[in-house]
Amino acid sequence: MSPRDRPALLQGTLDLLILRTLVSGRAHGQGVARAIQETSRDSILVDHGSLYPALQRLEERGWIRAEWGNSENNRRARFYELTASGRRQLVRETRQWWALSEAIGLILGPQSSVR
């Protein structure tokens, strides 16, 4: 897929994706970026530069917490994990996301009509 065809990430959805990724356990920033990229089969490339401010934002809101630790290949890294309120926020945001995409789908109509 060329960068041109890659969907631009809607602002705000990065938070949702980070929270979702952390459900499967703690991870450092680079791991999160990689995981999003791999799970989306390379459709979504996370801009590493905006990842860290997003992580910081989530941490400030108390949805994730962070701790310095050692990576599998023994490098020092800051590890993030979901908090209880982060888990609730994920549920909320997921629900909203589905409602929104459904609404947008309704407005846009069936896929065939676009072509």
Partner: protein
């Protein structure tokens, strides 16, 4: 939901920590890329490329930690201003509402602050107290100090560091004899002991204060001038100290000038004279002095009163005289110690607090209204906001948008409100219609007031903006997107908050309207009281005849009788007279004990005390006071002091019931001469209109000295009062009365100033000034509240109608009658109003109790007033709802039903 408290708990993370994390990321990414087969150099380069601008990320992090939005402040404000200009109706309504609320609150707060809260301008003012006595005696319940009690307390107490005595006075000030303006002037003065000046702790501007030895009588006369008098009359003469000025015809040497802020005992005091107390010749039962004292550190007023209570019985031992131990015991005389501030502020505090409460209510109503306007606005922007949120707009950005709009409006409203407050205070000061608010001159919008106004403003901005913004956040994005699409009416929950605000406004407005109604009824009752004298076509002025110019009783009396003769001869003048105390003017009040003949006092019983005044024969017809029995006095003759009195009906009734009083006799001192009643006047309410009629004894202008007159001079065979109020009854226009009258007096006595020239109607108006002042302010507050409440209801109802335009159109298309739709809308508005009124009635029942002390002849829960207020509120509500209701019924179907484009 987002928890604002998290901001407070937020861990401080340093920039360095963030930089370390970024470095770790780059290392991890490089490792990974190397594992995927890139050369180490390529891997480092690629990891950096994928990260993007490291500096930018760090800056973004840094901004989040600092208050980045502050840097964007001017931009935010500019945008908010642009948005407000685009919604002029909203902006103007909100600004004017806030102006009224903030203006009223700051004006009244500055009054309360200046008059009640701010400390007195003296050194350590909290230690300053006023000492007086309470006692149980018919007619008198409170006396201040006599020279004897003052001297003894000062000498023997253990609780004060200093005690001073003073008395307000008024003197004639004339030329100094060195060629400056010789015009005579009447000025307010105070007689004060030397200790007063040291105790209050304000240094003289020039010269010195009094010395202790100047408290004694017979020392060369000295005077201290006030700064204002010095700057005015004496043109800031730098060589004023040592000059002589003529006071009551006697040369006094100026020894000092006190700064303007000294204002003791009140701001009108223009000069101070020495007190002249002779410890060897005291008048222990003449309580014509007031005492001010400074408490020693740690002594409470109660403890001080207890100490004085111990001292009081010993006063007669130290200063034998008419104040005997028996009299102290019989009257249950007790020293009372109150803070000086309380005594200086007087009884205005209740009226001020009531008005302050009303202003606070008005501010609440204004806030509720503006909050409502903001909610409506938030609703209009709902769709817009939700889309922006869906696209990731931060919560902070949206709240900030509302906050800056709120801040701009509140600031504008605050500025206008302060202008309004300044104008209001200026108007209040210039009307000076004798509202008699102490310290009014010192009231101004200063730092404290501005701080309060600024605080109110920011609080309003916060509430106004954050509440609707957060509300818009509570909703699910999808719900709103679907709802605000075509064909929907607004959800039920969205109306609730607005209705609550309208209900609150209605309830508060009802309280204000009822309060104003009660005050109006009190005022009306006061006006309908028959005072017993006729204030129309009656004019008064005062003169004081100093001993120096009129040394004998004969001189003084012959001047008065000649003046009265000439005044009576003026065209249009029907009657003229003099009296020592005018009705409704509580200065110059005097009291005397009355011993009624044939009424033996039981052992241990004290005689009754009644008001006493000296009067010329013509005074009763000049004041329009009818004589019910007998006749008035004979023409005053300096050589004759007739033992005659005229009493008021209330006094005659007390002693002789409905039997004739003429011919009855009483004494004014246990061993004094007997006076015969020659006339009885009608009832006079001369103390205050809301008090029972006066029980007054009128004595003729020339009396025997001694017990009959408190300050009689034993060396003189006859005595006459020297501070007199002339009263002239004339049918001419006010200006045509006062000018010839003044001219007459000036021709007869060029050196005697004529002062206090007023229509009697004005004297009477002054006595009800406090009630009418409170009434006026409450009326303004309640009219503003009604207006704001009406605007609020109108806004909500018309917005409800506009939201349901399509529904209404469908109803009409299906055949609904316009009348039915009108009723539907009106019904909804009335439901809100009824709830507000019900709540307001509850609040009124509780709150009007605080008005009780200000009311006259009307109960705080007067049903007629309550009913009237409810009717008025309902009427205004119907009017406010009528226009939107009518609009609902004439919706243009074609426009309303056209699909959204």
């Amino acid at each position: 939901m987002w928890n604002p408290l998290l901001i407070l708990k937020r861990r401080r993370r340093r920039d360095a920590d963030f930089a370390e994390e970024v470095a770790a990321h780059l290392a991890l990414e490089t490792d990974r890329l190397v594992a995927e087969g890139l050369s180490p150099e390529e891997a480092v380069y690629e990891a950096r490329r994928r990260f993007g601008n490291v500096g930018l990320a760090q800056e973004a992090f840094h901004r989040r930690r600092t208050i980045g939005w502050l840097e964007a402040l001017p931009q935010q404000l500019r945008r908010a201003a642009r948005r407000l200009v685009r919604a002029p109706v909203f902006s103007i309504t909100a600004t004017l509402t806030l102006m009224l609320g903030i203006g009223a609150t700051t004006a009244v707060f500055s009054l309360v602050d200046g008059v009640l809260l701010r400390p007195l301008p003296f050194v350590r003012p909290a230690q300053l107290v006023d000492i007086s006595h309470t006692l149980v005696l018919q007619g008198v319940s409170h006396v201040d100090q006599s020279d004897a009690t003052y001297l003894y307390y000062r000498r023997a107490n253990h609780v004060f560091s200093e005690v001073g005595a003073y008395r307000s006075a008024a003197v004639n000030l004339s030329g100094s004899g060195t060629g400056d303006s010789a015009h005579a002037e009447r000025v307010d003065a105070a007689v004060a002991s030397a200790s007063v000046f040291g105790m209050l702790g304000i240094a003289p501007l020039r010269g010195r204060a009094f010395r202790d030895d100047e408290d004694l009588p017979g020392v060369p006369p000295v005077v201290i001038l006030g700064e204002r008098l010095w700057k005015g009359r004496y043109a800031s003469d730098p060589r004023i100290i040592g000059r002589a000025v003529m006071i009551d015809g006697v040369a006094h040497e100026v020894v000092g000038v006190m700064p303007e802020r000294f204002g003791f005992p009140d701001d009108r005091t223009a000069l101070w004279l020495s007190i002249g107390i002779d410890p060897a010749r005291t008048e222990s039962a003449t309580f014509d002095l007031r005492a001010v004292a400074r408490l020693r550190a740690g002594v409470t007023p109660q403890a001080a009163a207890a100490d004085l209570q111990r001292l009081l019985p010993h006063v007669p031992d130290a200063f034998p005289g008419r104040l005997t131990a028996a009299a102290i015991g019989l009257t249950r005389m007790r020293p009372e110690v109150r803070t000086l501030r309380d005594t200086m502020v007087g009884g205005i505090d209740r009226a001020l607090w009531v008005v302050f409460g009303a202003a606070g209510f008005l501010l609440l109503i204004a806030c509720a209204n503006v909050a409502n306007l903001f909610l409506v606005r938030a609703e209009e922007k709902q769709h817009d906001l939700v889309v922006r949120r869906a696209l990731g707009a931060g919560r902070g950005a949206i709240v900030a948008e509302f906050f800056f709009e709120g801040l701009l409006l509140a600031t504008l409203g605050c500025a206008l409100g302060l202008a309004l407050a300044t104008a209001g205070l200026g108007a209040l000061r210039s009307t000076q219609s004798g509202i008699a608010i102490p310290r009014l001159d010192r009231v101004r919008l200063d730092g404290a007031v501005l701080a309060v106004a600024a605080g109110i403003t920011v609080a309003i901005a916060l509430v106004m903006s954050v509440v609707p913004a957060l509300r818009s956040y509570g909703s699910e994005i999808a719900t709103v997107l679907v709802q605000s699409g075509r064909g929907a009416t607004a959800g039920r929950s969205r109306h609730r908050a607005r209705r609550v605000f309208v209900v609150v406004q209605m309830a508060l407005a009802l309280v204000l309207v009822t309060g104003a109604g009660l005050m109006a009824r009190s005022f009306q009752s006061l006006r309908s009281v028959r005072p017993g004298f006729d204030t129309t076509e009656s004019y008064t002025f005062r003169v004081a005849l100093p001993d120096a110019a009129y040394p004998t009783t004969g001189d003084a009396v012959s001047l008065v009788t000649r003046a009265l003769d000439e005044l009576a001869a003026l065209p249009d003048v029907a009657a003229a007279g003099v009296v020592t105390k005018l009705p409704l003017d509580d200065e110059a009040r005097r009291d005397t004990a009355v011993f009624v003949e044939d009424r033996q006092l039981a052992m241990g019983q004290m005689p009754n005390v009644h008001q006493v005044a000296y009067a010329s024969p013509g005074i009763f017809s000049a004041l329009g006071i009818p004589l019910l029995q007998g006749h008035t006095f004979e023409r005053p003759d300096p050589l004759r002091a007739p033992l005659e009195v005229i009493v008021t009906h209330a006094l005659a009734k007390r002693y002789w019931g409905e039997e004739p009083a003429v011919g009855r006799r009483f004494q004014l001192a246990p061993t004094g001469p007997s006076f015969t009643v020659v006339g009885v006047t009608g009832d006079i309410r001369g103390t205050r209109l809301d008090q029972p009629p006066d029980e007054t004894v009128y004595l003729p202008l020339v009396t025997a000295p001694g017990p009959a007159s408190a300050d009689g001079d034993a060396g003189d065979a006859r005595w006459t009062p020297r501070e007199l109020a002339f009263v002239v009854r004339s049918s001419a226009a006010p200006h045509d009365v006062t000018l010839p009258v003044e001219r007459t007096l000036r021709a007869l006595a060029p050196t005697i100033p004529v002062y206090g020239v007023r229509a009697m109607a004005e004297v009477a108006a002054r006595s009800t000034a406090r009630t009418s002042f409170t009434l006026a302010l409450l009326e303004i507050a309640s009219i503003a509240a009604l207006l704001i409440g009406a605007v609020g209801l109108y806004g909500v109802v018309s917005y409800m109608v506009s939201l349901r335009t399509r529904e209404m159109a469908v109803r009409i298309a299906l055949g609904a009658q316009p009348g039915a739709l009108r009723r539907l809308v009106l019904q909804q508005a009335m439901a809100v109003t009824a709830l507000g009124i019900a709540l307001g009635l509850g609040a009124t029942m509780v709150l009007t109790r605080f008005l009780t002390a200000l009311l006259f002849d009307v109960a705080p829960t007067d049903p007629a007033t309550l009913l009237g207020a409810v009717a008025l509120m309902s009427g205004v509500a119907v009017a406010a709802a009528w226009f939107p209701a009518r609009r609902a019924a004439v919706i243009d179907l074609a426009t309303a039903l056209r699909p959204d484009v």
